[in-house]
């Protein structure tokens, strides 16, 4: 089970184990990690599960598709490493992944 660290905007961090194949969003919801709202439940519709992939990991994550990049253009404080966490599936290759959370999803 890949281990993922979620780091809040205020610096607090939580390390959790996710099932391979599940999304970073589901991992956050399952572990009650604040900062991921995920209103649409993972259908790439709401952009309330915005996160930043740590710079050391960004090249190892599958790139975003068009729908997601369009949504990411509209979130608060988009950056080059912005992703919607519902669209990022974790695998054993991503064991140790570090994810940063934004100050707000709205």
């Amino acid at each position: 089970m890949p281990r993922v660290t979620y780091i809040q905007a205020d610096g607090q961090s939580q390390e959790v184990n996710l099932e391979a194949g599940s999304s970073l969003m589901q991992g956050a919801v399952d572990n009650m990690i604040d900062g991921i709202v995920a209103e649409c439940g993972g259908s790439c519709s709401c952009a309330t599960c915005h996160c930043y992939i740590d710079a050391d990991w960004i090249d190892r994550v599958e790139p975003a598709e068009e729908m997601e990049t369009d949504l990411l253009d509209c979130v608060s404080e988009p950056k080059d490493n912005s992703r919607l966490s519902c669209q990022v599936k974790v695998s054993d290759d991503l064991d140790g992944l570090v994810v940063h959370l934004p100050t707000t999803q709205f």
Binding site: D30, E39, C46
Partner: protein, 409 residues
């Protein structure tokens, strides 16, 4: 609060799945019991007419949270029981098996149920409504390539179901009683768009037609309409709207007005009874009227407000409603409520393409947006509605101009 305080959540819904963990996060140390008349942990309902029906997601994959979360939060879940009454004077929830459960705080997340139609043959084998997991499981047993499905009701549920069944290779006919599909919720332009798409995908849509009977020997065989037409069917799915589950609240003397009336803190007319989600009617400060919403967003947001209220953090509920509908390769995102619009402005080729945005206007201001495969128009549209400024319709229609430029900072 006392550690022995008891909170009961009635209905294992989207709202319940949000409420229980939020109560813990907000510091509720008392007991939490979730009571459900279903036999499943809270699950995402939208996929029932989409990915679950089409077979691309399993029942386990549509759970909102895994079982471990509820045990971690020490939430007791009782399934398969129905509430019979609320005894407000003794603060007890009475169940139909004779049990009486004491509560300090009771939260009604009872949702809505399908509106049923009363026509001959509606009880035949193979005739279904679609609201819960059990319905979807039953429907799946009747699906299969080249089988014929008749869907009664051309609303979002009917159309999403049509899309999922086409994916399975079925022959699909949608019967709509009104002059056009999506009559209650969209502009004629948007309805015409969806009619075209469904026709392109091979779904037959028949509007202005009333199903008057369903017939078959043991199992459904056909649907008859008021004009004498008949449609053969191996399965019939009826989707003609929902009714909020307010009876328990009403019998307990709580205020009801097209839903259980709650204030901005999700409290009913009894301060120890709260409610959230589809079953409620609440005042929305953005649209300045009472709303009863059938929406995931509302269920989640109102449940969070309710959890905060119970824990003594009064945070008023004020959110822009939004909705979505997935059909084929089309992702429709709806921001706001269009009721009362006077003009519609369209951006993009609504007549020939699969991507456009429709802006619903009143007095020069934006009320709502229907965005198909246009996430930016949806996202910035939300912000434009909230800002409430006068907008130039020529700019809204100009596809070369990002909506972002119309926002005031």
């Amino acid at each position: 609060m006392a550690a022995k305080s008891r909170c009961i959540i009635l209905g294992a819904s989207h709202a319940a799945a949000q409420l229980a963990p939020t109560l813990r996060q907000q510091g509720w140390t008392g007991s939490i019991s979730m009571i459900s008349n279903e036999y499943a942990l809270p699950y995402h309902r939208p996929p029932l007419s989409k990915d679950y029906l089409a077979g691309t997601k399993t029942a386990e994959q549509i759970l909102i949270r895994p079982a471990a979360v509820y045990s971690k939060c020490n939430v007791g879940i009782t399934m398969g029981v129905t509430a019979a009454a609320i005894d407000r004077s003794n603060k007890q929830l009475l169940l139909d098996d004779g049990m009486a459960l004491d509560y300090d705080k009771l939260v009604l997340t009872t949702g809505a149920r399908v509106r049923k139609i009363d026509i001959p043959g509606v009880d035949l084998n193979g005739v279904f409504y679609l609201r819960d997991l059990n319905d979807a499981q039953q429907i799946k047993m009747f699906t299969g390539a080249n089988k014929r499905a008749v869907i009664i009701g051309g609303g979002y549920i009917g159309l999403e179901t049509a899309s999922a069944l086409r994916k399975l290779g079925m022959q699909v006919t949608v019967l709509e009683a009104m002059p056009r599909i999506l009559q209650r919720v969209t502009a004629p332009e948007v309805a015409a768009f969806y009619s075209r798409i469904h026709a392109e995908e091979g779904v037959e849509i028949v509007a202005d037609v009333q199903a008057v009977s369903i017939s078959g020997a043991k199992q459904v065989e056909s649907v008859q309409c008021h004009d004498g037409t008949e449609y053969e069917a191996d399965i019939v799915i009826i989707g003609v709207g929902v009714i909020p589950n307010t009876e328990l609240a009403e019998q307990a003397g709580l205020k009801i007005d097209n839903g259980i009336v709650v204030d901005e803190y999700a409290r009913t007319s009894d301060e120890d009874i709260l409610a959230a989600g589809d079953c409620t009617s609440h005042y929305n400060p953005i649209y300045q009227r009472h709303l009863r919403l059938e929406s995931v967003q509302n269920a989640l947001d109102q449940a969070s407000v309710a959890a905060n209220t119970i824990c003594g953090n009064l945070k008023p509920y004020s959110a822009l409603p939004w909705f979505w509908s997935d059909q084929y390769d089309l992702k429709l995102q709806i921001a706001g409520l269009s009721q009362g619009y006077t003009d519609v402005v369209v951006r993009g080729d609504i007549d020939g393409s699969r991507s456009f945005a429709a802006f619903y206007m009143r007095e020069g201001k934006l009320l709502a947006v229907d965005a198909v495969n246009r996430p930016q128009e949806f996202m910035f549209g939300k912000k434009l509605i909230m800002q409430g400024n006068q907008l130039d319709t020529a700019q809204l229609a100009d596809d070369s101009l990002s909506l972002k430029t119309l926002l005031t900072s």
